[in-house]
Structures are given as C-alpha cells and as structure tokens.
C-alpha cells in the first residue's frame, strides 16, 4: 500500500473515468460484456496500488516523477496537419489508423474493411465483431495484478482493431500511428491484433509527439496468433522528451504460430516496455529484437517475459541498449521453460553500450528451466566497443573517434536493419546517427 499522496492515480481515477462505467453502465445491453470489462477494471484499478521501487519488477525504474503530476483524460480536438501526417506516413503502407491523443481521427486514417482483413477503430468493432473481440480483449493482457493495465482498461472506449481471418493476409504493413499533442494529458492507447489460423499480419505501432509537452501514454496491446499464423509487430516509441510512456504488449502464440517483434525505444523521459509472450501451442515460436537508444536524463526500462508452455517451441531474443550522458537503461528478460515444454530451443542475448561514464545500464537475463530436454542459452554484455572491429576500421585509415562513432551507430543500426521496411529503416538510421554521434568528433 502506498501512503504517499499520488496525484497521478487520483487524477486518472477520478472524474470521467469514475463516472463512465458507473453512470452509463448497462449490463443488460448488447455491449454489457464490454461495460462489465471496464467496470471490473475500474474496480481493480481502485484497489491496486501503483508500483514503486520497492516492487521487484520496478526496482530500477522510479516512477515518482510521474506520480507527483496530475493528468486529465485527453480530449478530442488535437490538431494534426496533413503535412505532419505526410511526414510520418510510410510509402510502404496503404492502411493506416491515426489516433490523436488516443482519439481516433477518421479524416487522417485509411482503414481496411476488405475481404478477410479488418483494420478499424475498436469503438465500432466491439459491436460489429463482438464475438471475436470478447474472447480476446482483456484476456491476453490480464488486468488482475497490473495497475496500469487496469487503468488503461478503465478508459477503454476506442483503439486499433486489426484482424486477419483464416489464411488471410494484408499486402502491406498496417500503420497504427499514435500522436500526442496535448499537455498534461493521460492517453490510454489500446490495440487488439488477431491473426486467425494461417493468417499473416505486419503491424507498425508508432508513437510520436508534436511539441515537447509533459503527458503520459499508458498503452496496452494484445496479440492473438492462432495456429500457423504469423504476426510481426514493429513498435516505435518516439515520444517527446518530457513524456512518460508505459506500455504493455502481450502475445499468445498457438500451435506452430510465429510472433516476431521489433521494439525501438528512442523517446520519453521515462519509459517502460512490458512484453509478455506466451508460447501456448506446440511448435510456436517468437523472435524479439529490441533497441533502446537514449541519452540526456532518459530512463528506459524493458521487461520481457517469454513463457514456454508447450513442447517444441523456439524463442530468440536480442536486446540492445545504448545509453549516453546520464541516461539509464534497464533490461530484464525472463524466460520460463515449463515442465511440459520439452524440446524447447531458446536463446537470449542482452548487449549494452555505454557512451559516457555517467550513463548506466542494469541488465538481468533470467532463465528458469523446469523441463529436462531443452537447449537454452542466455548472456549479457555491458561494455565497450569490440577491439577487433575498432582495429579493422583504424587499419583502413579511420581516426579513432570516427571508428568509434561508426561502430556505435552500427551497434544500433543492426537492430534497425531487421525491421526490413526501407523507408522506416532509413528514417530510423537518421535518428540513430543523430543520437550516436559524439560531440567532439563533428
């Protein structure tokens, strides 16, 4: 129990949030299940306490700067120009949902409602596809023990709904663009991705900000990967430098399904990625690539949990952190191989680079194996650049500082390259270039 006055919690759980489920709650109507989900979440959020550094899962990530601030629910009416959208859109994508301060913006969006693929705002979809959504929403990322998910679910009235039916696929990546424009806003983004058996989807979950304001994004993404389906989630966190970004993404992967994610964290003053992957069916697999690239006073925390519940599953994870100035990066990667998960093949690697003596990284790979016939490896390095790579570049005439910059850039760019969408890769290379240049050499 926290006894500290918590401006954040009292502000987000008062007023509108409290009024909505109670005031308009209608258990008997067609959306009774949805109202109930929110009402339960509100009850849960009110009962839970927000985490502090005394919680093992949050010991390196002190959210007290967030808790001291009061936020109000974001409002509709955030202004985003067509030119801004043009600069953020990707030529490789044709389907796009734009949320401005968490509110769906129809004018800027190009949903898809063709054939067996649906990309649409969740607000309408909960009525149109109630059966499909009801079985998943709030089920893959449960709220019971997580205050932030409970708060997000309390505010759940819209979000992105991405669905591919049996054996369906979408010809291009689906861009879900979340733009923050308002100061002091609490923004509760939500996404539900469903790939039915044999379906294929690539989704870009993109967070950006206009201006440099204090706001808080508390996002939840749930991904359901059915038998033999393939889902790729590219998460880009490019929030403003004073923002808070708290994100939970949870995926459940059924038999022979494949889940692949690229998580790139560049922005926000304090950010937290909580990633949960459940390998639920035999032969399921996941590949997680992560890059945290921060400087100044930024803190970026990634906690991942890969749960091997079934036999013959594979998981591969590579997470890299590059921290400059006085930035603080955290990686905690837990892998659990349950007793039934025989023939598991799992590899996890945490690689970290510190660009200044005052930058800091806490990394903790955790492997718990309860099955006896498995192949698992994990490791972490914190350090300096590779000596042989440095020598190779210098032997070709590059001065030490230039070689160092190039290798630092490469360390991060190697993760960006795995995204495989050329325009996006180019833009991120620019961002990586800017962040990895040391001041003395230019």
């Amino acid at each position: 129990m926290t006894t500290v006055p918590n401006a954040y919690l009292s502000s987000v759980l008062s007023g509108e949030a409290a009024a909505w489920p109670l005031g308009r709650f209608n258990a008997a109507g067609p959306l009774g299940w949805f109202h109930q989900l929110r009402a339960d979440a509100f009850e849960r959020a009110s009962a839970l306490t927000v985490p502090t550094v005394r919680d093992e899962d949050w010991r390196f990530t002190d959210l007290s700067p967030l808790y001291r601030l009061a936020f109000r629910p974001s409002r509709a009416g955030g202004m985003v120009s067509g030119a801004t959208i043009a600069s953020l859109s990707l030529p490789e994508t044709t389907t796009r949902l734009v949320f401005v301060d968490g509110q769906f913006n129809a004018a800027l969006s190009t949903p898809a409602l063709t054939g067996n693929v649906i990309v649409a705002p969740l607000a309408g979809a909960v009525s149109d596809y109630a059966a499909i959504i009801r079985a998943r929403l709030g089920q893959i990322a449960p709220i019971e023990r997580d205050a932030f998910r409970a708060i997000n679910t309390t505010y759940l009235n819209d979000g992105a709904f991405v669905f591919a039916g049996r054996n369906a696929s979408h010809p291009s990546p689906i861009h879900v663009l979340n733009i923050a424009t308002q100061a002091e806003a609490a923004i509760h983004n939500r996404m539900l991705v469903i790939a039915e058996a044999g379906a294929k989807l690539t989704v870009i979950e993109d967070y950006v900000a206009l201006g440099d304001r204090v706001y808080c994004v508390n996002a939840v993404t749930e991904v359901d990967v059915a038998d033999n389906a393939k889902v790729r989630l590219i998460k880009l966190q490019r929030e403003g430098s004073q923002a808070f970004h708290l994100s939970a993404s949870a995926a459940r992967v059924q038999q022979a399904g494949q889940y692949r994610s690229n998580t790139i964290s560049l922005g926000a003053r304090i950010s937290r990625e909580t990633i949960g992957i459940e390998l639920a069916g035999p032969g399921a697999g996941c590949e997680l690539d992560g890059l945290t690239l921060i400087n100044g006073r930024q803190l970026a925390d990634t906690h991942s949990f890969i749960d091997h519940r079934a036999p013959h599953c594979t998981s591969r994870q590579l997470h890299k952190c590059v921290a400059g100035d006085t930035a603080h990066a955290v990686f905690n990667g837990r892998i659990l191989v349950r007793q039934d998960a025989q023939q598991t093949n799992s590899a996890q690697e945490s690689r970290n680079l510190l660009l200044s003596p005052r930058a800091h990284v806490d990394t903790k790979p955790q492997l718990e194996i309860l099955a006896d016939d498995v192949k698992c490896s994990h490791g972490a390095t914190v350090g300096q650049l590779d000596e042989e790579e440095m020598f190779y570049l210098r032997s070709r005439g590059l001065p030490e500082s230039q070689a160092r910059n190039l290798l630092t850039y490469a360390f991060a760019a190697a993760i960006v390259d795995r995204i495989g969408i050329p325009t996006l890769v180019d833009r991120l290379h620019q961002a990586v270039m800017e962040q990895t240049r040391t001041k003395d050499s230019l």
Partner: protein, 258 residues
C-alpha cells in the same frame, strides 16, 4: 620485379615485439623495395601474423626493440590510421564482420579518408558507386555485396575478395596480405590472385603471408622468406617455396643451426 636501384619502401631492423608479455618477434630484418613481391612462409606460431599486426599497429602488440621505416619514416610512433594513410595496408586473415554498416558506406568512408589524407578529391555516394563497381569487376564480385553489412554472412572467399577490393580502392604503397589464400577454393584463389597481380606495379610492393606454395603458383614472388621463432631464417627466390613444399620447414632450421 627486382630492380637494384628501386626505392626502399620498408626497412625493418632488429624488430622485437611482445603480446601478453611473451616475446614473439625476436629480431626481424627485412628490406622491401618498390616493385617487389615477397612471400613470408613458415610454420604455425613462427610469428608471421604477429609481424603483420605489429606493422599495422594492433594495440595488443608492443614493440620492445628495433626500427621500422615506411618510405623512410619511422612508423611505430603512429596510430594505425596514420600508418594506413602513409600507405600501409593489411589484408586480414580473418576480416571483421560489422553488422549495421553497409559495405558501400564503409568502402566509401575509407576511400575518402585516404583520398583526403593525400589531398585528393573525395567522391560522393553516386560517383563512388560507379567507381567501386568498376573495381569490383576486377574481383568478379557481385555488386549486391555493396548493400550488405561489412563482411556479415560473407563466405571465406567473399571476405577475402572484399579485402582485395579495399586494396584496389586504397592503392597502398605496401600491402601486407595475411593468409589471403586460406579458405579459398581454386576459383576464388585464381580470382583473388589475379586481382593482386593487377594491382602490383613498379611503385608499390606486396607481401604475401602464407602457409602454402599453392598461392605462389598464381602470384610469383621475387623473394621467399622462411620465418621461424620470430625471425627470418632463410631467404631465397621462388624456388625456395617449392623446396619447402616438398621438404617441409625442419631442414631450414637444421641448416641454419649447423
């Protein structure tokens, strides 16, 4: 090609060097003149690769005695990058993979750095693309290797071709090729050797560090040196390599001892 009056490019005198506190080079002496091709042979652990790394300035190696002049100037005070700019090139035995750096970007950066050091014009990406593609033909390299990360996932032969491509771009005065033939099949060996032969001229010199005589069928050396125990035990012409191939190395040490 041996020419009596050709300028001396490299002069190594009584060179001694250590790695991790252990002396590996124990009095190397070598003189290389412009236009010459030298081969350094010798058993494992004789100090051949150490010699290459010491010359190019690898930070793990410490020079404890002796002098080395490149083009008349002492090099041991210089960091590796300045030795490269002075015209020294090391073809790596194990070229380093650098994921995240496109080969084209790397090649242009090194090319422009060396050009800049010589006061010559640098090339922009488009100009360089034309230029490098022309050079790649020499080594029968697929231009697709420009877009890949430096050496990442390249086969052994592709890595070695990429090394010789760098030699072609940087036009060093003295190229030290450390076991460039290892891991090459016969076709790759022919191509790589052809590249080296094209690049060798009257103004530069090439040193081949190799275990096998096979490479020397393709690149004919003017001198063959046998290294053992950190120094050169014997120097001969190209026929010495054939003799080593048939008789091994032991007789050289025995002959020197007697």
């Amino acid at each position: 090609m041996i020419r009596a009056g050709a300028p001396v490019l490299l002069e190594v005198r009584d060179l001694r060097a250590k790695v991790s506190g252990i002396e590996i080079l124990k009095g190397m002496n070598l003189t290389i003149r412009a236009g010459e091709i030298h081969a350094i042979m010798g058993p494992n652990g004789s100090g051949k690769s150490t010699f290459a790394k010491v010359l190019s300035g690898h930070p793990d190696y410490t020079v404890t005695a002796g002098t080395t002049l490149l083009d008349g100037k002492s090099i041991f005070e210089l960091p590796p990058e300045e030795r490269a700019r002075a015209g020294l090139f090391l073809g790596f035995q194990y070229p380093v993979e650098i994921p995240g750096v496109a080969n084209a970007q790397f090649l242009r950066l090194t090319y422009n750095t060396i050009q800049g050091a010589h006061g010559k014009d640098e090339l922009d990406p488009l100009e360089f693309d034309d230029f490098v593609r022309e050079k790649m033909k020499l080594l029968e390299m697929d231009p697709a290797f420009l877009d890949r990360s430096v050496n990442e996932g390249f086969s052994g032969g592709e890595k070695k071709r990429n090394e010789i491509l760098q030699m072609a771009l940087l036009e060093p005065k003295l190229a030290f090729l450390d076991e460039t033939d290892s891991g090459l099949d016969i076709d790759a060996l022919r191509i790589v050797a052809g590249g080296v032969n094209t690049l060798a001229n009257a103004n530069n010199a090439v040193v081949l560090v190799t275990h096998y005589q096979r490479l020397l069928n393709y690149i004919i050396p003017d001198y063959v040196h046998v290294m053992e125990g950190g120094r050169i035990l014997k120097t001969g012409g190209k026929d010495l390599a054939l003799e080593l191939e048939s008789r091994g190395y032991d007789w050289v040490a025995a002959a020197v001892a007697s």
